[in-house]
């Protein structure tokens, strides 16, 4: 089976222009990253701010082109720097961003927000668009009455549901989730993670899940890639990475994650008493 997404040696450089006092320099944001994701699977990309994970998300979503390297979607080579972006390609990959308060246009009703991708990328009629938006609202756990409401009338978790619904309107093959739950409360986070799991089953979706929260990654991922300064320092199945981390940075990351189990608390209290 061809993987839905395959990346071979992706590189992305940013040129920082110089000025009178500064020389121009190049930032290597992503330094040769390769991976593949099969249909219905989830690849989690973990790393700290500045490690290049969001740059990678922009490349995969075809917002930015890669400086070099190959990206294949459904076995087809994609190069937006040369060929531009067709609406057919756009329909295959969609993205959900971190902050649901920033990604929904406050002046548009939910229905219009959901219909917009259809207006841009398809030739659907208005009533078809409306029906589809209504159906999608129900799929993500909202109601038809929410169609005519504005984003400010929703809570953070509901907004993230709207953002997910919008991403699914074009029936994509691949969904890039850029820290989709890190702005949400614990209980809402659980609801959204459940929703993502349900949708993945229903539509056989492929996820690229970007996160810095290892407990979420452990829950949702099939494969895990750990990035550090633009390089993939660890890449493997969830079990491999979590049970036997190879790279020292991965180990640091695991050690730094706060543990909420009784044994660790007992150990800490014992240390403190000593």
């Amino acid at each position: 089976m061809t993987p839905v997404l395959e990346a071979r040696n992706l590189v992305r450089d940013y040129h920082i222009p110089g000025s009178l006092l500064k020389r121009a320099r190049i930032v290597h944001a992503v330094k040769g990253v390769s991976f593949a994701v099969d249909q219905g699977k989830t690849l989690a990309i973990v790393g700290e701010s500045g490690c290049g994970k969001s740059t990678l998300a922009r490349i995969v979503t075809m917002i930015d082109p890669a400086t070099s390297g190959e990206m294949l979607i459904d076995g087809e080579k994609v190069d937006i720097a040369r060929d531009g972006l067709t609406s057919e390609m756009r329909r295959k990959v969609q993205i959900v961003f971190q902050n649901p308060y920033g990604t929904l246009n406050p002046r548009k009703k939910i229905g219009d927000i959901l219909s917009e991708p259809l207006i841009i990328n398809t030739r659907m009629k208005a009533d078809e668009r409306r029906d589809m938006a209504m159906a999608m609202l129900k799929k993500v756990g909202l109601e038809e009455k929410h169609y005519g409401r504005y984003p400010h009338m929703f809570s953070g978790g509901q907004r993230q549901r709207v953002a997910i619904a919008r991403a699914l309107m074009l029936n994509p093959r691949l969904l890039v989730l850029d820290e989709p739950v890190s702005a949400l409360d614990l209980s809402v986070q659980a609801q959204v993670l459940n929703l993502l799991a349900d949708l993945q089953d229903e539509f056989q979706l492929t996820y690229v899940f970007i996160s810095h929260d290892l407990s979420v990654v452990r829950y949702i991922a099939d494969d895990v890639m750990v990035m550090y300064y633009g390089e993939a320092v660890e890449y493997g199945s969830r079990e491999e990475v979590f049970s036997d981390p190879k790279h020292s940075y991965t180990k640091t990351l695991f050690a730094a994650t706060p543990r909420a189990d009784v044994d660790s608390i007992k150990a800490r209290l014992a240390r403190k008493a000593a």
Binding site: S187, A190, N194, A197, R218, T252, R259, D261, R268
Partner: protein, 284 residues
């Protein structure tokens, strides 16, 4: 005597649709050298109750309490100029967004020396020496050089260290940390938490950590208060809270942690608890 004693704290905001109760009858105590964690989701009133204790809420907020004492001094009845002598000196606070809580127009050195001048009245040379000492204490490399830097020239973790240095500058008796690591990466979070716990132990400070992260609670607290919609749901020492939570809400919160996921699905709070059920077990 407890360091901070709060009894039946109520905070109301006047809104267009009538008064809104952000905090509804919360009582708490913190002793010297003790770390209290207040956990809750957004809207649980955990930040507002601490801001009320420090008198940092806007005039639209109506704060009432049966008792609001710091070190035996009544905080509620005092004038704002009296309160300013305590707040920032004996009670210090660290906020969530380190970059937003520093003034971008002044160097970090100016901002830390301002506190030393206002509260301790040190002269210029003494202020500078103390500022360098504090920066060393919180682990900022090249402290003397860093004093002349502006907040935007430093990373988020470094800015949070500056905030901690400012908070510690007058050797406070009580340190309130409002989501001190939420905006930071996990590895930096670990460093900052370790730093805070080390300083707390060395100085024997009382400390309140406000957070929504159960992992942070597990790593830092002696005692925990769980809040929901402005009410206190549970209070327990950290081990018994995680080992045998009494209230249904705490149990639900703990089971929603992805770490504790047993099956394919995470249990969510709304699925099996109504507000009435949550408040049924509420404590005062």
């Amino acid at each position: 005597m407890s360091l901070l004693e709060v009894e039946n704290l109520v905070v109301e905001f006047q809104t267009a649709s009538g008064p809104f109760r952000a905090v509804n009858g919360v009582s708490l105590k913190v002793n010297e050298g003790e770390v209290l964690a207040i956990v809750g989701e957004s809207g649980s009133g955990k930040s507002v109750s601490m801001l009320a204790a420090m008198g940092l809420l806007p005039w639209t907020a109506k704060v009432t309490a049966d008792k609001l004492q710091f070190n035996g001094i009544d905080l509620l009845g005092m004038s704002s100029s009296e309160r300013r002598r305590i707040v920032g000196k004996d009670i210090a606070m660290i906020f969530q967004e380190p970059i937003a809580s520093l003034n971008p127009c002044f160097t970090v050195g100016f901002q830390i020396e301002e506190v030393l001048r206002l509260h301790l009245g040190l002269d210029k040379a003494a202020r500078r020496a103390r500022a360098i000492e504090l920066f060393e204490l919180v682990g900022i490399p090249n402290p003397a050089e860093r004093l002349s830097h502006f907040p935007h020239q430093m990373s988020g973790g470094q800015c949070q260290r500056v905030m901690i240095a400012i908070a510690l500058s007058c050797n406070p008796k009580l340190l309130i940390a409002d989501e001190p690591t939420t905006a930071l990466d996990v590895t930096i979070q670990k460093q900052i938490l370790d730093l805070l716990m080390r300083l707390q132990a060395e100085h024997g400070m009382g400390m309140i950590i406000i957070t929504h992260n159960m992992g942070v609670v597990a790593e830092t607290a002696d005692r925990v208060i769980v809040q929901y919609k402005g009410r206190k749901i549970e209070e327990a020492d950290v081990l018994s809270l995680f080992e045998s939570p009494k209230s249904a809400y705490t149990r639900a919160l703990l089971s929603a942690l992805p770490d504790n996921a047993t099956g394919d699905r995470l249990p969510t709070i709304a699925e099996f608890l109504s507000d009435d059920q949550i408040f049924a077990g509420a404590v005062r």
